[in-house]
Amino acid sequence: MQDLGIRVLFEGKNLIRLLEGLWVTIEISLLSVLISMILGIVLGMIMTVKNPLVKAVTRLYLEFVRIMPQLVLLFLVYFGMTRAFHVNLSGEVSAVIVFSIWGTAEMGDLVRSALISIPAHQYESGRALGLTEGQIYRYIVIPQTIRRLVPLAINLATRMIKTTSLIALIGVIEVVKVGQQIIEASRLSVPSAALWIYGVIFFLYFIICYPVAKLAARLEKAWNTV
């Protein structure tokens, strides 16, 4: 049995621990995605404002967050805040903050581009029909914006779920961290543990992200009317 590294999964509570780690990943991802979506919609609407100052500030925020590797942002919030301001944030809270900052920026940009992609003629057609501005938004602009936005937002969510693996590096016990612990613990008894554990983690990410990505692709196709 020496070579069957997969048994490491079933030793003690290893599998349960991995799944618990996965749950932490999901929790942090979901919370960040939720916050990002809400704030992103607001940000996206702000970004379509024509005020140059508003434009400059939101642009700067977006570029800054995009250019910074998420890992650096994580370290900055987790370690930096503690050192500089003596704010002692837990890894989980830091993670949610960082992923929300990042997600909001990305989502804001998606919302902005979806909004401005509705041609001016759609508004004019609505006006020419005698609809009020409110009705134009309700029946023409928003339904089309949502159709463009939802697949993109789902793709962003899967990216966020995958990127949460970075938080293992600030000591949050999520699925990758649990995996590392198991590998460490069984380094001598099961030398091939790394392959098996990371393989399982790969598979876990896959079963979360694949259906979500698939859904996005399906929606995109179904709504390919715009």
Binding site: R127, A128, G130, L131, Y139, Q144, W223, T225, V226
Partner: protein
């Protein structure tokens, strides 16, 4: 011109974008059932004129009235005015997320608060007339340009407008589709719809118009019946403009003889 009920009166309107004067001073009266065709070189202000009439552009001077009621320069309730003015655009602009029937009934149901069944019934009748009833459940992307434009005309008609504005409705169409759209418009004219048409199709203009308005550089240069305008233009500018279409015109004249 026979003295019929005046539907639309445009009184010395002016429109500029900053320093660029698009409409210098245009006055025009359109009677009930009259078909006015506006022609002129590109950039002469024809499309802007239509857009000013239904308030998509604000005007800087003069006034526009519809059946005696002043409709220009309003802030409030412009949507109520627009319900009485149908407009069809060059790029059709159907709503891509709605099927054909819903495209047509959106205005009647939401803006005019008519019953959905009644609006749909009328929409179907109008679709029969333009030969597109079988497309009522299709989406705009499944239609050809000519079909989309016919739907756009039906969408405007279903609102029972007092006057219909057509802004170069065939300019974006492939040549073989132009005819089907123009035929629909000819039929409307025959039925006595009041229409203002901006077009580059000179033979069509000649066939459909009760009156031709020739615009250049933001003002009315010449105005007259199609026969007068096409056969014997009074101004040099109109002659020059028509020369561009000479090939068409000569052919048209020969066909008639």
């Amino acid at each position: 011109m026979s003295k019929k009920e005046e539907i639309l009166t445009i009184n010395h309107i002016k429109k500029d974008y900053g320093s660029l004067e698009v409409i210098k001073d245009i006055s025009l009266t359109v009677g009930k059932g009259e078909v006015v065709v506006v022609v002129g070189p590109s950039g002469c202000g024809k499309s802007t004129l239509l857009r000013c009439i239904n308030g998509l552009e604000t005007i800087q001077g003069g006034e526009i009235s519809l059946k005696g009621e002043i409709i220009s320069g309003r802030q409030k309730d412009m949507h109520l005015v627009r319900q009485k003015i149908g407009m069809v655009f060059q790029s059709y602009d159907l709503f891509p997320h709605k099927n054909i029937l819903d495209n047509i009934t959106l205005g009647p149901v939401k803006a005019q608060h008519r019953k959905k069944e009644e609006a749909e019934e009328e929409a179907e009748k109008l679709l029969v007339r333009v030969g597109l009833l079988d497309k009522k459940d299709a989406y705009p992307r499944q239609l050809s340009g000519g079909q989309k434009q016919r739907v756009a005309i039906v969408r405007a008609l279903c609102m029972h407008p007092e006057v219909m504005l057509f802004d170069e409705v065939t300019a974006a169409l492939d040549p073989e589709m132009v005819r089907e759209v123009l035929d629909v418009m000819l039929e409307l004219a025959r039925e006595g719809s009041t229409m203002i048409i901006v077009t580059h199709e000179m033979q069509f203009a000649r066939a459909i118009a009760d009156r031709i308005i020739f615009l250049d550089k933001g003002e009315v240069v010449e105005e007259g019946t199609p026969e007068e305008f096409f056969e014997n233009p009074k101004t040099e500018r109109a002659r020059k403009f028509l020369n561009v279409f000479e090939f068409d015109t000569v052919k048209g004249v020969e066909d008639k003889k």
